[in-house]
């Protein structure tokens, strides 16, 4: 292999977009950000890196690209926007009264092998609703999520809602932790009832709570699941309260005309470590993995010194682009065709081009060669 080839090689996990691909991505971004603006959210352009301890949580820190700064501090490229926005809301925007509505759009990097439509560097568009009445905020964020997908003309999307409090409520007082908790969480998430039973075999927990945990694997479907859940989880007030919160949000979405878009999945117990309440994912037929998701994180801002409940949502641009490519084909986004301008006198030719530009034309300047 010669040196020139080696230098042209790219590292795994990065990608670049050319021409129509780039245009398609910009159009998606513009459509989504217009919805965020339309709901009166304010843009934040956060830094590309920050101190590594801003990005907490085991799941995330294991995937963070961190490095040592010149002063010896440990820094990290942003693997996520939510922690950064929480820090900004608690810091620079500390005096601004809640609720605060913020949105962002940009790349994050995670040390993950390319998988499920995503490279190590990928693009997120999302918003955070900090403070305010929690149920209203949850329903607002979900409604905005639905409007983004409508604006993108995504067909058949479903918002699958879960609540972290169902799982944690059922486990309260059990003292379960570490590898055993992870195993249990993973089996609930896989909807493997037998696996849940096995994982609970040696856990000190009331039999009703154990059978309720096993039931979580089948409490997934339409809104009727909430009624089943209320009966199945009656043994545990904390879990029942979580279901009540979900019901309030689901009913509000029904009132907004989005009932057919809502699914319930009480086995949805994973996600990022900072989620404390509602969690949701956006699924679309034809794409095997979620195109976006979000949830409520009521304790994250307290870490930065401003205790505020919050809820957020994000769409993955890479997955949306992949999905729209499948649903609508890879047609080139429309642009006006370019007018060719050329002339023997370079200065005069450029003057003509400038006039045409001022008239709003798309100009291909011909003096440099090419067609």
């Amino acid at each position: 292999m010669n040196g020139a080839h080696r230098l042209a090689q790219i590292p795994p996990g990065v990608q670049c977009f050319v021409g129509n691909e780039a245009r398609r991505r910009r159009r998606i971004e513009e459509a989504v950000l217009a919805v965020f603006e339309g709901w009166d959210y304010e843009e934040i352009i956060p830094p590309l890196f920050d101190y590594a301890d801003v990005f907490t949580g085991e799941a995330l820190s294991a995937k963070t690209y961190s490095f040592v700064g010149r002063d010896g501090s440990v820094l990290a490229l942003r693997p996520d926007f939510t922690s950064l926005l929480a820090k900004i809301a608690a810091g620079r925007l500390r005096d601004r009264p809640a609720p605060i509505r913020l949105y962002y759009s940009g790349e994050v990097v995670r040390y993950e092998p390319p998988r499920a439509g995503r490279q190590s560097e990928f693009f997120q568009m999302g918003l955070e609703h900090l403070g305010g009445e929690p149920r209203a905020a949850d329903a607002e964020v979900l409604t905005i999520a639905a409007e983004c997908l409508e604006a993108l003309e995504v067909e058949g999307f479903v918002l699958a809602l879960g609540h972290v409090g169902v799982f944690t409520g059922l486990l309260a007082g059990s003292g379960i932790g570490g590898a055993r908790l992870e195993e249990l969480r993973e089996r609930v998430e896989a909807k493997d009832a037998r696996g849940v039973r096995r994982a609970l075999a040696e856990v000190d927990l009331a039999p009703e709570a154990k059978s309720a945990l096993e039931r979580l694997t089948t409490l997934a479907g339409g809104l009727e699941v909430l009624d089943e859940a209320a009966a199945a989880l009656a043994c545990c007030p904390a879990a029942a309260e979580a279901v009540g919160e979900l019901r309030a949000v689901a009913e509000a979405l029904g009132g907004a005309g989005l009932g057919s878009r809502v699914a319930v999945d009480l086995g949805e117990v994973r996600g990022l470590d900072y989620y404390t309440g509602l969690v949701f994912r956006v699924f679309v037929p034809g794409l095997g993995f979620e195109v976006g998701g979000g949830g409520r994180y009521d304790t994250l801002l307290a870490r930065f010194g401003r205790p505020l409940p919050a809820v957020g949502f994000m769409l993955g641009l890479d997955r949306v682009a992949l999905l729209l490519g499948r649903q609508k084909g890879e047609a080139a986004p429309s642009t006006s065709s370019a007018e060719r301008v050329t002339g023997s006198d370079l200065g005069k030719a450029l003057a003509v081009a400038r006039t045409k530009r001022a008239e709003g034309a798309r100009v291909r300047f011909g003096n440099g060669g090419g067609q």
């Binding site: 009832a193 679309v284 037929p285 794409l287 979620e290």
Partner: protein, 205 residues
């Protein structure tokens, strides 16, 4: 559009065929070499057993049938709502019969296996340094030839191990056939998926 189901033509095929027929779904005969077989409301894909979870995770297939061992090795993020009760086996650590070798006694265990991911996690999880040598088959001969100290492999009856002078000393995980379901299909095509799950559940013995 019909639901797509990924299956393997390996050892789970006969159990899968019986299950689908008991559940009332038409199922292709084993003779055909076609890899994509539409049949009524289902479309069957026949792929390599290790690839079933991948097809399902990416949503190319909505559902699939795969051993728990294979799902674990693939590390796929899929739902596993049904244990189908056939294809039962154990993934074990096996060493040459009568050998004094035990994993805890070596500074690094060299293990020959078709399951490098499961084997590596198993030994690391016990605090034992490990070097997984990935083989595509005939794993049983590796210890005798000095390629590895032990193997991690599937055991059904134990005969293959015995014939190759090996004995199982530890069970890594128990496996059986599972119905796996794509996360997006589960919600976005709920009615059809639910019907398949329920009919198969009713036919599990």
């Amino acid at each position: 559009m019909s639901l797509t189901v990924a299956l393997s033509k390996g050892k789970l095929l006969s159990g899968t065929q019986e299950l689908f027929r008991r559940a009332g779904w038409p199922f292709p005969d084993g003779e055909s070499r076609r890899l994509v077989v539409p049949m009524g409301e289902l479309r069957y894909l026949f792929v390599k057993d290790m690839d079933v979870p991948t097809y399902v995770e990416y949503g190319v297939a909505d559902c699939g049938i795969a051993g728990r061992d294979v799902v674990l090795e693939a590390g796929s993020d899929v739902f596993e709502p049904l244990d189908l009760g056939f294809g039962g086996c154990r993934l074990v650590v096996a060493v040459p019969a009568g050998s004094a070798f035990s994993p805890g006694s070596a500074s690094t265990v060299r293990v020959a296996t078709k399951y490098p991911r499961i084997a590596t996690e198993y030994f690391l999880g016990r605090g034992i340094s490990v070097e997984a040598v990935r083989l595509a088959g005939s794993v049983e001969i590796a210890p005798g030839l000095g390629l590895a100290d032990c193997i991690v492999d599937i055991v059904e009856t134990g005969r293959t191990l015995e014939e190759n002078g090996l004995e199982a000393i530890e069970t890594v995980v128990e496996s059986s056939a599972r119905l796996v379901v794509n996360r997006a299909s589960f919600h976005a095509r709920r009615a059809e998926v639910q019907r398949l799950v329920e009919t198969l559940e009713g036919a599990v013995r």
